[in-house]
């Protein structure tokens, strides 16, 4: 037996894992269990309609055979375009703020982000006023004797411009953070080794800021691919998205919860895969740097 150690006062335990019990419990009951219930609805074990039900894959069959997939691709394409454009716009802004040594960069950053902190619906409303048939652009066009443009509101274009407008301020943030923490000595070293600014950017800055770029991209893509509020307000029929379909399957006159639940579960699956790949990519990047 080991020699008795003089008894010390127990190490202060100011916190225990038990503190996590309540928050984790909240998320288990109000997030994991509900998603499990969605899964049960999607295979018809639970159903809107009374009577005995057993496991069935009808919802999943319909997902792949009734045009829902093409709607999903359409939505995915729209959000891909929006995310790419928004990231491409935000990158130079973040670069300018983080690396040009501007004084007041945090004030400018706050100015850029502030619109994101205001009401989402109100920003959509602003675009309805701008793009409408009698809206700002069209009434201006007709007042100077030009033909009004009918495709402005209730179109895919309208959905994409509004989504881009709504998410642009938010995207600058993750890119700014990676560029701001970038070691400037690396750039100086590149310049000492006769790299031009362009070479330094392509070979040093851009690769090092990729985690921020990918994060920014996902931060836009994930919420927009399941979006239904903006398309239902400015999209009309041609701007109808996958998220609208899910809502309609639950709230329209002829509800089909089984198919709706399947669509929702498919969306979660796609997003989980994307998030997982992104996290792996981050870990790999960290390992390479370290």
């Amino acid at each position: 037996m080991a020699a008795p150690v003089p008894r010390r006062r127990r190490r202060p335990r100011l916190a225990t894992p038990a503190l996590l019990g309540l928050p984790l419990g909240w998320l288990v009951v109000f997030l994991l269990v509900p998603v499990a219930i969605v899964a049960l609805y999607s295979v018809d074990v639970l159903s809107l309609f009374p009577g005995p039900h057993s496991f069935a894959l009808g919802g999943w069959y319909r997902l792949f055979h009734q045009g829902y997939m093409s709607l999903f691709w359409k939505s995915a394409k729209m959000s891909l375009i929006v995310s790419a454009l928004v990231v491409a716009t935000a990158y130079p802004l973040a670069y300018f703020l983080a690396l040009s040594g501007t004084r007041r960069k945090y004030v400018l950053l706050l100015l850029l982000i502030a619109p994101f902190l205001t009401s989402y619906l109100l920003r959509v409303l602003a675009w309805k006023v701008i793009l409408g048939d009698q809206g700002v652009i069209n009434s201006f066009l007709s007042s100077v004797g030009l033909h009004p443009l009918s495709f402005l509101l209730y179109s895919r274009f309208a959905v994409m411009i509004v989504l881009g407008y709504v998410w642009l301020p938010f995207v600058a943030l993750p890119i700014f953070v990676t560029l701001d923490t970038l070691d400037r000595r690396l750039l100086e070293a590149a310049s000492d080794l006769y790299a031009s600014r362009l070479q330094a950017f392509v070979r040093v800055t851009l690769p090092l800021s990729m985690p921020g770029v990918v994060a920014a991209f996902l931060f836009v893509f994930i919420p927009t691919v399941g979006e239904f509020v903006t398309p239902s307000l400015v999209g009309g029929t041609s701007g109808y998205m996958y998220g609208n379909q899910i809502v309609d399957l639950f709230q329209q006159g002829f509800p089909d919860w089984e198919t709706g639940a399947t669509l929702a579960l498919f969306l979660i699956a796609v997003i989980s895969v994307l998030t997982f790949v992104f996290v792996r990519f981050l870990r790999l990047g960290e390992a390479r740097v370290a």
Binding site: L14, A15, T16, P17, L19, L20, P23, L24, W26, L27, V28, L31, L32, P34, V38, Y41, L46, P92, L93, Y95, L99, S100, G101, L110, L112, A114, L117, T118, S119, Y120, L121, L122, L125, A126, K128, V129, I130, V136, S143, Y165, L187, E188, S191, R197, A200, L218, P223, G226, V229, L233, I246, V247, F250, A261, A264, L267, I268, I271, S272, T275
Partner: protein, 270 residues
């Protein structure tokens, strides 16, 4: 030589930044202009100055009820979410155990759950359990959305605080609760206020989840959404929009400035 931008590059960037700011703020400015425009339809040319839309909003009972409902939901949400966020952040930052990574992941998962999916899955949960939809069911959903935000605000602050302070309090005979109340809480107070504000504004503005979980009482976004479909109410809605937009901008900027100052004061040696 500046390694990041040439002089011309800097000039171009400054112009580009200005253009983007115009793009971001012009729609808000247009709302502001039309809220004072004396016409039933927001269109050019402008037809004179009026305050009647602001006046109408003051006498619109439905609208005020909706604002009140949202304020209640947002208050409940922010109190519960910040309490849970404090517990979670202390649990993550002050203890080491197996499964800590998994726990942290679960706490952040709501960030990547599409709101439609969250709304409908909670709707199904309450349907299965036979729970009547009400203000409380909306708040439950909003707490789920907001928990990760509160943690992302609180955790960095907790990690900054010198752990020895808590241990010193303990050595002087303070229990865990007293230590929290007298040492930890005052030090993280600026972050707690930020978290409360973020939770409140997020909940106040949230439509997607609320649309699935609302009972008979409309929240402000739900009212706004239905009003957006009836053009006759548009100018009045624009007037409210302007009031809400300005109020939230002022609160957010003021809170951020206050937090910076408060944290700087806490850092400074007494």
């Amino acid at each position: 030589m500046d390694v990041a931008l040439s002089r011309n590059g800097r000039r171009i960037m400054r112009v580009f930044f200005g253009i983007v700011l115009v793009f971001l703020y012009a729609p808000i400015a247009i709302l502001l202009v039309f809220s004072f425009n004396n016409a039933d339809i927001p269109a050019f040319p402008l037809s004179g100055f009026t305050l009647r839309w602001y006046h109408a909003f003051l006498h619109n009972g439905d609208l005020q009820a909706a604002l009140e409902t949202s304020a209640i939901v947002a208050t409940i949400t922010s109190i519960i979410a910040v309490a849970l966020g404090i517990l979670a952040s202390i649990g993550i930052s002050r203890s080491r155990f197996r499964g800590r990574g998994a726990a942290t992941t679960l706490l952040l998962v709501p960030l990547v759950i599409p709101l439609v999916v969250l709304g409908l899955s909670l709707f199904l949960l309450f349907h299965v359990l036979g729970v009547q939809l009400s203000i409380l069911t909306i708040a439950v959903g909003h707490v789920v959305i907001v928990i990760p935000y509160t943690i992302l605000v609180l955790l960095p602050r907790l990690e900054q605080i010198d752990r020895a302070l808590g241990e010193a309090a303990y050595d002087l005979g303070a229990g865990p609760l007293t230590t929290f109340r007298r040492v930890t809480l005052p030090l993280i107070l600026p972050a707690v206020v930020s978290a409360l504000l973020i939770a409140f504004t997020t909940s106040f503005d949230e439509y997607a989840v609320a649309s699935f979980l609302a009972g008979t009482r409309q929240t402000f976004p739900i009212y706004l959404y239905s009003a957006l479909r009836f053009p006759t109410q548009l100018p009045q809605v624009i007037a409210v929009a302007v009031v809400v937009l300005c109020a939230s901008l002022v609160v957010i900027v003021a809170a951020e400035l206050w937090r910076r100052r408060a944290e700087a004061r806490l850092e400074a040696p007494a």
